[in-house]
């Protein structure tokens, strides 16, 4: 290290120089008397500065400063007039009361959804279980829902039910289960009657005009459904034909 470099870095302290630089510095300091004399002045200055550093200003009165700060803070508007709408919105959303209200609304929505979902899920599960139970019952168990008033609607959907398109029906505003075996028996009976319709006596036709119409006219499924919907009396006639224990209550 030469004198020029030494005098350039002699104002830096040990922790401000790299280890190698510091070694070189010390080496030059021990060999160059002129530089060492210059460095002594720097050391004197350092000592003087250390004394100045130790002279701390008298502290502020903390209460007075805190009061002044609080006064200033109260003067600051929640948002200034030049702020953009976005900034105002963000600041507004940042208010504790607004955040609390938003959190409450969100919680309410989530809770409602969860309750509704859980209730609906349980309800549907219950229906499915009931359907499975009733469908597996013996044919001797009467269908629990069928009344004369409900029957037309039910019969109109029989084909859909049997082919698996429907699993339960809405009768008089309530969801009800159906005894699948009983309905299959009714369909089977209808098919049998259809096949023997030409041999049925004229008295049968007179006694059961609606049923006779159904058995002899070849209609497609939709027309049949429509016809059946209107014909509640048909069920009464069917009831007369099926065994006592399987009659619709």
């Amino acid at each position: 290290m030469n004198c020029t470099k030494f005098r350039k870095i002699m104002y830096l302290r040990e922790d401000e120089l790299g280890p190698d630089e510091w070694k070189e510095f010390r080496r030059h300091h021990s060999t160059c008397l002129t530089c060492a004399a210059e460095y002594r002045k720097v050391e004197r200055m350092e000592q003087a500065l250390t004394r100045l550093k130790n002279r701390n200003p008298h502290p502020l009165n903390p209460v007075a400063v805190a009061d002044a700060i609080i006064d200033e803070i109260e003067l600051v508007k929640p948002w200034n007039e030049s702020a953009s709408i976005y900034d105002i919105l963000v600041q507004w959303l940042d208010l504790p009361k607004v955040r609390g209200a938003l959190a409450s609304v969100l919680t309410f929505i989530c809770a409602s959804f969860l309750i509704e979902y859980t209730y609906g899920y349980v309800h549907i599960k219950g229906l499915e279980t009931s359907i499975t139970t009733y469908s597996s019952m013996q044919s001797s168990v009467p269908a629990p829902f069928l009344t004369q008033a409900d029957a037309s609607g039910v019969v109109s959907d029989l084909s859909k039910f049997v082919t698996g398109k429907r699993s339960f029906f809405e009768v008089s505003g309530n969801w009800v289960m159906i005894n699948k075996k009983s309905i299959e028996d009714i369909i089977l009976l209808l098919n049998q009657l259809q096949s023997i319709a030409p041999q049925l006596p004229p008295e049968f036709r007179a006694a059961h005009p609606q049923l006779w119409k159904l058995l002899t006219k070849k209609k497609d499924a939709k027309e049949l459904d429509a016809l059946l919907k209107e014909q509640t009396s048909l069920i009464r006639e069917l009831n007369d034909l099926i065994p006592q224990e399987r009659r619709i209550p």
């Binding site: 350039k8 870095i9 104002y11 830096l12 922790d15 401000e16 002045k41 720097v42 004197r44 200055m45 003087a48 500065l49 004394r51 100045l52 550093k53 130790n54 002279r55 701390n56 200003p57 008298h58 502290p59 502020l60 903390p62 400063v65 805190a66 002044a68 700060i69 200033e72 803070i73 600051v76 940042d94």
Partner: protein, 163 residues
């Protein structure tokens, strides 16, 4: 709070050499800290962040003062500065005004950046890394400013303390 106020006041006082201006800067700094707390990066030490706010406010004031050509204090007797830096008794108390006068006499001719670097490093005792973080300068730049400031101070201080 009191502790941080003390730190903030000491820096502002040493940079500005004026008690009233330093008080104003401390108040303004704490209002800024309050209003921008949400932007505070917790990876940075709170004191570093606080020093950064205080120092930048002081720096702005120094530059304004420089432009207007105003000074905060009247001229100080050099012998008084000599007694402040020569006296080794720490129990010897000086008023804020006396202390401000001594620091001002020593550092008033320094450019604002060198003055701030010198105060933070040599009078406040922060490390070079902390100073570089507070002033957003490289460490080499901080060291360069320190060299210029100390060289200048040596030239002014040595004749005074040698008398």
């Amino acid at each position: 709070m009191e502790q941080y106020q003390g730190y903030a006041f000491a820096v502002a006082f040493r940079v500005l050499c004026d008690e009233e201006e330093a008080k104003d800067v401390v108040q303004e700094s704490f209002i800024r800290i309050w209003s921008s707390l949400s932007r505070y990066n917790r990876e940075v030490k709170f004191t570093t962040w606080m020093y950064s706010i205080v120092t930048h406010l002081c720096y702005d004031k120094l530059r304004t003062r420089k432009k207007k050509g105003t000074t905060a204090l009247d001229a100080v007797d050099p012998s008084f500065l000599a007694s402040v830096v020569a006296e080794d008794n720490p129990e010897l108390l000086y008023s804020n005004k006396e202390l401000a006068g001594a620091i001002k006499m020593l550092t008033d001719k320094l450019p604002p950046k060198q003055k701030v670097v010198f105060v933070l490093r040599d009078l406040q005792g922060l490390s070079v890394r902390e100073v570089s973080s507070i002033l957003r300068l490289s460490e080499n730049s901080v060291k360069a400013n320190l060299v210029y400031a100390r060289r200048f101070l040596r030239e002014h201080l040595i004749p005074i303390i040698s008398d």
